[in-house]
């Protein structure tokens, strides 16, 4: 049954869960866990907190599954839950988050420094630097890039999930890319100009 559901669409799995097949929800979790966990990482900047937020997100999603409006993508709906869960988590932990335009106040948390050791082998690869650069961005910038490139959400879908106009999202995406480019340049210390 589960292997059959593995190839099913999100909606089919949701219908199965709503029909009483609780085990089918595991397929939905497996399918979206990396995306949810990455988004949680963007906000919390810590693996432990991100894991907790991602788990809570899936539990909340399960509880409110019947209220999911099928007009939007399931991943878009999940994003709104990740966002609210992350904010509640951060408020509880009293971690100061900053607004999108408040670069001066942004402090990179130390937990990310350990990544350098973990990925020592691929340290020199382009992929390593890009993935490291996004972690240095403000949560809002990193999230918008994650939703657009990794979540494959359209501007309209991101706008709906974030409660903004599509044009505002477009401007924010442009700015986020600009900042990621700067971060990448800083990381590569001039190497980027040669590569570009």
């Amino acid at each position: 049954m589960l292997s059959m559901l593995h190839k099913s669409s999100d909606i089919e799995i949701i219908d199965a869960v709503l029909g009483g097949n609780q085990a089918a929800y595991a397929d939905l979790v497996k399918r979206h866990q990396r995306y949810v966990f990455t988004l949680a990482m963007r906000f919390t900047k810590s693996r432990e907190d991100a894991e907790e937020v991602a788990q809570d997100t899936f539990v909340k999603a399960y509880r409110s599954l019947s209220s999911y409006q099928r007009s939007a993508k399931f991943s878009t709906w999940l994003y709104t839950i990740v966002y609210h869960t992350s904010m509640t988590h951060l408020r509880k932990k009293k971690v100061n988050t900053t607004s999108i335009d408040d670069d001066a106040n942004f402090v990179q948390l130390e937990s990310y420094q350990s990544d350098a050791d973990q990925y020592a082998v691929e340290k020199k690869s382009r992929s390593f630097y890009v993935n490291k650069a996004i972690k240095n961005l403000l949560p809002d910038d990193a999230t918008i890039i994650t939703l657009f490139y990794q979540g494959e959400q359209s501007l309209e879908e991101i706008a709906k999930a974030m409660g903004m106009e599509a044009n505002t999202v477009k401007v924010k995406l442009h700015r986020a890319r600009q900042r990621l480019k700067i971060q990448l340049e800083n990381l590569l210390q001039g190497e980027v100009k040669e590569l570009l």
Partner: protein, 166 residues
């Protein structure tokens, strides 16, 4: 961000109109400023595609499902509605309709209908004046019809909203 960069990003993302798309591709070919910027942004675009999703712990799904098992099962809106309520409402309406029918049958003057000389003249105004209902019965029937109309309108509105949201 300068205007050129913004235009080229829109071009790369496929967010501009066909005319704009053609104009920008022409500029990329013929204008060295556009050409240079395009190459720069395409390289960045390739970098952004290298972004990877983070992997949670191995036991992630298991942990989630453990928590989910403690939750009550989510049910679809259909299942959430208690059928007894629906049957109760239906019973009330059936009873109301039966009362209306009984009152109407009771108020008909059967003897008058038998004495009507042939041929029968179907004059609706005349028939209307012959049906004699007390004021209380008239009000009751009137409210009954109003109620029926309101419910029918609500059902249609609900159907319309469901179709719109689907």
């Amino acid at each position: 961000m300068n205007h050129i960069e913004e235009r080229i990003w829109d071009y790369i993302d496929g967010l501009c109109s066909e005319e704009e798309q053609e104009a920008i591709s022409h500029l990329i070919i013929h204008d060295p400023v556009y050409s240079l910027k395009y190459q720069e942004l395409m390289a960045l675009q390739k970098d952004f595609q290298l972004l990877e999703l983070d992997e949670p712990s191995m036991a992630f799904t298991y942990k989630v499902m453990e928590k989910v098992a403690l939750q009550s099962k989510p049910l679809s809106a259909k299942a959430l509605i208690d059928k007894r309520i629906i049957y109760g409402i239906s019973a009330i309406f059936v009873v109301l309709l039966l009362i209306c029918l009984v009152i109407a049958v009771k108020d008909i003057n059967w003897a008058a209908s038998f004495n009507t000389p042939a041929p029968i003249n179907f004059n609706l105004r005349q028939l209307g004046s012959q049906v004699k209902l007390s004021e209380a019965n008239k009000t009751f029937i009137l409210y009954g019809f109003f109620m029926f109309d309101i419910i029918a309108a609500l059902m249609l509105f609900d159907k319309f909203l469901r179709r719109k949201l689907a």
